[in-house]
């Protein structure tokens, strides 16, 4: 049992922490928002560093790392709200590699995706029977889109539009058409493979949320120490301190739960899907709480476009909503933990 990073993981955190701090600056995030929410230069650098396929088995062109190792990178990605579809791509790469194992996917495609080109993504919600997949994460920039169409797991390959639907966090969201996508599996096998990928997405996004929250809190702490009102630092007021302390407490709880979920996925523990789902919900809630407190304690400047807290505030809400309504995710957890709802007697 070890709830801290190993030395190797520490080294990975530092290397990618440096890369994201250097390349995914707030200026780069703003520049990406003005476009389709994607920074191709950063993606190339990440691909060169082996991030997109790091948790894909070596025999499928990846780095053979665990999901937790990848989560260490996702944490740093989240800290800088970096405008690249790292998590969507990485879980799709793992999905394709597992399907290549059974021959359902061309090994060359799986290997290429592990290398970072073409960019791949996952529709988090099943497509309609006609193959329409609305608001796909990274849908504006991904060539390869995997998802469920009816009871079939399909993969489509199309030129992306490069245009995102305008959205609250400048994410590369776009509608995709999976009507012509090839069927990889059907029935329970399809559902199981898709659910596994979705669980990985939830665990990694939970960790990314912990990264976002860490950074927005650091921003808030730095600001309230430096900003003076009534002749003293704003951060010396207990009302401000206690709001930040509550946010930091939830943030640390969310970080621990998120990494615990990622560990459970690696260990193929029965409760992994449950923990990943809980970690994502709690991670999103703590991120929103922290971003709200930090924006508030910036006063008017927090609301201004010039300061960075608003970039985090918007993403704190947006990341989870790509999956759908939080209430629906809670309802799924309830179904699993409390049993199905009994229909009302007529």
């Amino acid at each position: 049992m070890r709830t801290r990073y190993s030395e190797d993981q520490q080294a990975v955190a530092e290397a990618f922490g440096d890369l994201f701090a250097r390349e995914a600056t707030p200026e780069a995030v703003r520049a990406a928002e003005a476009g389709c929410g994607f920074d191709r230069g950063l993606w190339s650098k990440l691909a060169a560093a082996g991030a997109p396929g790091m948790a894909v088995p070596v025999e499928h062109g990846g780095g053979g790392a665990s999901l937790v190792d990848l989560a260490v990178v996702a944490f740093e990605w989240g800290r800088r709200i970096a405008p690249v579809p790292l998590v969507e791509h990485a879980v799709t790469a793992r999905l394709l590699a597992s399907l290549a194992e059974s021959g359902a996917v061309d090994t060359a495609l799986a290997g290429a995706v592990a290398g970072g080109e073409p960019i791949a993504t996952l529709t988090l919600r099943p497509a309609g029977p006609d193959g329409a997949a609305p608001l796909v994460p990274a849908g504006a920039v991904a060539d390869v889109v995997a998802g469920l169409r009816g009871d079939a797991l399909v993969v489509g390959r199309d030129e992306p539009s490069g245009v995102a639907r305008p959205n609250t966090a400048g994410l590369p969201l776009a509608d995709r058409d999976l009507s012509d996508a090839g069927i990889l599996a059907t029935g329970e096998v399809a559902r199981g493979a898709f659910d596994d990928a979705l669980t990985e997405w939830k665990a990694l996004m939970a960790v990314a949320y912990a990264g976002l929250t860490r950074e927005v809190l650091a921003m808030g702490v730095a600001y309230v120490k430096q900003r003076h009102q009534f002749g003293v630092p704003v951060g010396s007021f207990q009302a401000v301190q206690h709001g930040l302390a509550d946010a930091a407490t939830r943030a640390e709880g969310a970080r621990l739960l998120a990494f615990r979920a990622a560990c459970a996925v690696d260990a193929v523990t029965d409760g992994a899907a449950r923990l990943a789902s809980m970690a994502l919900l709690f991670g999103a809630e703590s991120a929103r709480f922290a971003a709200d407190r930090v924006l508030q304690y910036h006063g008017g400047y927090g609301y201004s476009a010039e300061y960075d807290v608003q970039l985090y505030y918007r993403r704190a809400a947006a990341w989870l909503l790509q999956l759908g309504e939080p209430a629906a995710e809670i309802a799924r957890l309830a179904e699993a933990d409390l049993g199905p709802k009994r229909p009302k007697a007529a």
């Binding site: 702490v221 951060g235 621990l256």
Partner: protein, 388 residues
């Protein structure tokens, strides 16, 4: 990183569960309604099993149980609602005496405390000082070779069943408050001590204790004269590992699920089929997993020999505040039926949710209030300036 408990700890969990199946009875849990969250039989059984001495740190001569296993023990005790508050008190008491006590105190009190035969309790808070514990005014003055103690203590919970009180006294009123404190181990049958019950909104009984010309030999002094704050700091240190309190919510969630499944609303539906109820139950279960993550993390840190500090404050803050929230939710969920106490024959599960609702507030107060813990997080974790 690997958050999975080692196989040895899971095997230990099974052992604890077996122990509780054998020793913890429904009567013991029900008996706590008289306000004393302590069962002498259970306490001795835990001591006999070696878990009390086991929980004392090895560097002090204790069993040095692996902190992860200790965490599992506390988790299981809480999940089963075992009335075992005295375990933590005993471990802290013994640790303080082993670290600071003279030979007399070590031989006179430690074996009795470790066997479960004797019980300790804490005399820190006073009517005029709670969170500001170093402002204690209970006076101890030299009397030849011994001491005379006068004053009063508040919240000396368990004093009415305990044998010793660890008493924080003022020995020098003319120096800054932290530098004029001295600790004593005071046998509670010493003449001049009066114990008065303090009843609470919850079912718990606490005490106010009064010290009127209590004469004590110097051999009962714990640590240096005017060195009481150092002793206090070790109390806080030892409390971190053994305080428990990370799992207050599971029993009330269990009761709420039971209610949701068995009760019927006017239209014949079960509360548990209501989305609003289901969402609150899930939110509460998420909070429990957060608490569990904190508990395993701090245990793993301790197991590696890392000292943790602020994480303990965070755990306690989060666990107690969310527990209060859960109790309020589930009380509301039951509507008018939620009001019934265990005295009413129709109360659900003997009025358990209603009891939790009344118990919950104290968890955010004792052992460090939520406000003190927020201060500690703000200063120790975020590096913000002291606000007081």
């Amino acid at each position: 990183m690997d958050f999975r408990l080692p196989a040895k700890a899971e095997a230990f969990r099974a052992e604890v569960q077996e122990f509780l199946a054998e020793h913890l009875t429904a009567e013991m849990i029900a008996a706590t309604r008289d306000g004393t969250i302590h069962s002498p039989e259970l306490h001795r059984a835990i001591a006999d099993r070696g878990w009390l001495s086991g929980a004392v740190p090895a560097e002090l001569g204790g069993g040095g149980m692996d902190p992860v296993e200790l965490c599992v023990l506390l988790e299981e005790l809480q999940l089963h609602q075992a009335p075992a508050d005295a375990l933590g008190v005993a471990v802290v008491t013994v640790s303080m005496i082993l670290e600071h006590g003279n030979d007399f105190l070590r031989s006179e009190t430690v074996p009795r405390l470790l066997s479960g035969e004797a019980l300790g309790c804490f005399g820190y808070s006073e009517p005029e000082s709670g969170s500001d514990v170093a402002a204690a005014r209970t006076r101890a003055v030299r009397d030849g070779g011994g001491w005379i103690i006068n004053g009063s203590k508040m919240w000396t919970t368990l004093a009415h069943v305990a044998d010793y009180v660890l008493l924080l006294t003022r020995t020098d009123p003319d120096v800054p408050k932290h530098r004029g404190l001295t600790f004593f181990v005071v046998p509670l049958d010493t003449p001049g001590i009066e114990i008065r019950p303090v009843s609470t909104m919850g079912t718990e009984r606490s005490n106010a204790t009064f010290y009127d010309d209590v004469r004590l030999g110097d051999e009962w002094r714990l640590g240096e004269v005017n060195g009481g704050w150092n002793v206090m700091k070790t109390a806080l240190k030892y409390e971190r590992g053994i305080a428990g309190g990370q799992f207050p919510s599971p029993p009330v969630i269990e009761a709420a699920i039971d209610w949701g499944r068995t009760a019927r609303r006017a239209d014949g539906t079960r509360p548990i089929d209501d989305d609003a109820v289901r969402h609150q139950l899930v939110q509460a279960m998420i909070d429990v997993e957060v608490c569990r993550s904190f508990a395993y993390h701090t245990a793993a840190l301790a197991s590696e020999g890392e000292m943790f500090g602020v994480e303990g404050s965070m755990t306690k803050l989060f666990a107690s505040e969310s527990y209060k929230k859960h109790c309020a939710w589930f009380l509301d969920m039951m509507g008018a039926d939620g009001l019934l106490t265990h005295d009413d024959p129709g109360a659900h599960m003997d009025g358990r949710i209603e009891e939790h609702f009344r118990h919950a507030p104290v968890t955010a107060i004792y052992g460090g209030t939520s406000e003190i813990n927020r201060n500690l997080v703000a200063e120790g974790w975020l590096g913000l300036p002291r606000s007081r």
